[in-house]
């Protein structure tokens, strides 16, 4: 195993993993902070950040071709159609 192989195969994933653990600590800590405002929004934001980290590095979207990124984005965009228009019913009932 050469030096740059070690960096590429183990080094990079380890750095991402450290980032993920840090985010986990942040979100866990903030949830148990008594009286913190916007509890749910922060929890969701940090979860989205962790999801983004996993998707771009572990799932290699960073160096994927545009076609693959579009497929990844497609699911989210269509899910937004479902949420936004369904809540146009619930919010105005």
């Amino acid at each position: 195993m050469t030096r740059e192989q070690r960096a590429q195969v183990i080094g990079q994933p380890l750095r991402v993993f450290a980032g993920l653990l840090a985010l986990l600590l942040v979100t866990f800590g903030y949830a148990y902070l008594p009286g913190g405002p916007l509890k749910t929004e922060v929890a969701l934001a940090v979860a989205a950040a962790k999801a983004l980290l996993i998707a771009t590095f572990f799932m290699q979207l960073r160096q994927a071709v545009w076609l693959v990124r579009l497929a990844a984005l497609g699911g989210l965009v269509w899910a937004c159609f479902l949420y936004i228009i369904t809540f146009s019913d619930y919010l105005t009932r």
Binding site: M1, Q5, Q8, V9, I10, P13, L14, V16, F17, L20, L21, L24, T27, F28, A31, Y32, K39, T40, A43, L44, V46, A47, A48, K50, A51, I54, A55, F57, F58, M59, Q60, A64, V65, L67, V68, A71, A72, G74, G75, L76, W78, A79, L82, Y83, T86, F87, Y90
Partner: protein, 206 residues
């Protein structure tokens, strides 16, 4: 770069890799919409009965949830290393990492089993002897059992996928890097879904 075994219609390894990534990500888009529909029931139930919903969420055991999140994040690490090792033809490291991912997956299910047992003992299953009476409580726990149950099924499929990677003979492993990439994408999705579930179930109303 070792010579990747080519499936039927593909002329070059590069095209095949893009095809497998594209096909896999389309499948992950369907999973996003699948769990998106499931989380819609969470959003609507929480919107309709905020007080009872959040109170019921406090009953969930955050310890089990956090342990499981750490377990799954580690399994994502080992899966990522395994997939990169296959592409670099480091077969012993790859197989060790696949085995580690398998162990972590089983560990996740074991921890989940303990959590389910304690939930059942505390009568948190919506039904005749459901303890919480606030409106929205049974909605939260209906979501809890459905979502974690469906996620556990996806975890079982993931264990099957990793076992399949382990069953490939060591000599052929370097040629199957696109299969390894597909399996890794699926595993990372299962972890990604859990990251969101963790925030929705365990961090609410603390």
């Amino acid at each position: 770069m070792t010579e990747v075994t080519l499936q039927e219609p593909w002329a070059t390894a590069e095209r095949q890799r893009v095809a497998v990534q594209f096909g896999m990500w389309l499948f992950l888009a369907t999973e996003t919409l699948f769990f998106g529909g499931l989380f819609l029931t969470y959003a609507v139930a929480r919107f309709s009965h905020p007080a009872g919903f959040v109170a019921a969420a406090r009953e969930a055991e955050a310890m089990f949830g956090t342990i499981n999140t750490v377990v799954l994040l580690t399994s994502s690490l080992t899966m990522a290393i395994a997939e990169r090792a296959v592409r670099e033809a480091l077969v012993p490291l790859a197989r060790a990492m696949f085995a580690a991912t398998l162990m972590l997956g089983v560990a996740f299910l074991v921890v989940k089993g303990f959590e389910y047992r304690s939930d059942i003992v505390k009568h948190l299953v919506p039904g005749p002897e459901f303890t919480l009476s606030q409106t929205g409580a049974s909605q939260f726990w209906a979501f809890y059992w459905t979502a974690t149950g469906v996620h556990a099924c996806h975890m079982l499929i993931g264990l099957g996928v990793v076992t399949r990677m382990l069953l490939i003979p060591a000599a052929d492993l370097p040629g199957r890097s696109t299969t390894a990439e597909g399996s890794a994408l699926y595993w990372h999705l299962v972890d990604l879904i859990w990251v969101i579930l963790y925030a929705l179930i365990y961090l609410v109303g603390r």
